[in-house]
């Protein structure tokens, strides 16, 4: 199967899964932003995406995408390390125009994944998981998402620690996407001499748009938490 056996095939899978996850992030970010304007509206979205069949299928799809993206990342990295050979260069010069993030995608990916686990425990486990299984995992009603968000981010001291942790996570995610988005388009063959610069700018804009809504929500609650101190 060429999607597994050829190098461009493997990169094609990385690109498609990555871009699909970026689309999800944009969607997720827009919904989160609602909580800043109206907690009721946010809870309505939580209700829509609770234990409904389409939300569950979506969740399973996302888990599959993350799994494929992760497994391929490991597979590609192992192959690439082997392709370098046993001897490393004694001196490695700085290569002009090479982005720092492009050389550290795996590390950034692990950062994103680590925080993702924390995030799933903080919210998903207490909301969708609790609603589906009927097990009580948090202190509020599973559909009262706004209460969970507020409790986590505004609790004295720990809330602010969580805010900083989430902001670090979002930074790692931004760097990952700043290379990932344009690189994915490039791998799909969607680039040429003229579009090279444009596509990098588009990648940067998409990365910012995907991360910014999350950052706004965290900063909003960070401010609220400080005011409550």
């Amino acid at each position: 199967m060429w999607l597994k056996d050829s190098s461009i095939g493997r990169k094609f899978v990385m690109s498609l899964t990555g871009l699909a996850l970026v689309l999800f992030l944009l969607f997720h970010g827009c919904m989160n932003l609602a909580v800043v304007f109206s907690e009721e509206a946010y809870n309505m979205i939580c209700h829509l995406l609770g234990a409904n069949w389409y939300a569950l299928i979506g969740t399973l799809g996302l888990a599959f995408l993350v799994l494929v993206h992760f497994c391929y990342a490991l597979y590609l990295t192992i192959q690439n390390r082997a392709a370098r050979g046993n001897d490393r260069y004694a001196v490695t010069g700085k290569k002009e125009g090479v982005e720092w993030e492009s050389e550290n995608m795996l590390v950034l990916g692990f950062c994103v994944l680590g925080f993702l686990c924390l995030h799933l425990y903080n919210f998903w486990f207490k909301m969708q998981f609790a609603e589906v299984t009927g097990i009580e995992t948090g202190m509020f009603d599973p559909q009262n998402g706004a209460a969970y968000v507020k409790a986590l981010f505004t609790e004295p001291v720990w809330g602010q620690v969580y805010c900083v942790l989430y902001l670090i996570w979002l930074c790692a995610l931004w760097f990952h996407l700043n290379h990932g988005v344009w690189s994915a388009l490039h791998t799909l063959g969607w680039n040429n001499l003229v579009w090279m610069k444009r596509i990098k700018v588009i990648g940067c804009i998409v990365a910012t748009l995907a991360v910014l809504p999350f950052a706004i929500v965290v900063l909003y609650y960070f401010g609220m938490g400080l005011a409550m101190l």
């Binding site: 190098s7 461009i8 990169k11 392709a83 370098r84 010069g93 090479v98 690189s183 063959g189 680039n191």
Partner: protein
Amino acid sequence: MDQYIDIKVRVWRQAGPKAQGHFETYDLKHVFQGASFLEMIDILNEQLVAEHKDPVTYDHDCREGICGMCSMYVNGHPHGPDSAITTCQLHMRKFKDGETITVEPWRSRAFPVIKDLMVDRGAYDKIMQAGGFVSVNTGGVPDANSIPIPKPVADEAMDAASCIGCGACAAACKNGSAMLFVAAKVSQLALLPQGKIEAAARAKAMVAKMDELGFGNCTNTGACAAECPKSVSLANIARLNREFLCAKFKD
């Protein structure tokens, strides 16, 4: 003004393909800055021969930047610290008095060291044999003016064709990927009407050969294009991806 400088040269010495390599540092006095880098290695070798030592083995041929033989990783850069030139076009005026210059061979699984700084780049020839050509069926020669090619296309094909197959791209790549080389070779032919006919088969054959020979997977860091002595553009890689993916979807 070019002056005479004293330098230290730290060279990778390896007796053979299976031998354990190591660095050896040599003092070299009174080197003229107007000398090319390879002339400096020649001076070093004369000194080594006079001392009854084994001279440093390295690849070189045309010494004017078109054959792609001089493969040296100088101070952490393929073809040295200057941009868009080969090692033979590098001059000693890029280095300072008292400097220690580290010279290493290409390090990549697909380019095994033969001796000292000389590596086996036969892998690139094998990729070319897999599809880097246009099949010519003998017959009358068509009139050149009967196949018009737009100037921008001809320029892009020419720029891709400037690849000399030196191996700097794979040597500079943290993934040991040969994508820029394969992309340049696929592009120079795929852009022109004569090469278009076999474009799909060529892309598939050359990528399959590249994977088989143990080159890595491209992650678009761009180190290859930054270090390429002929400034071959990264955009060629997008074209190779496009050609390859289209060919696979057609199958």
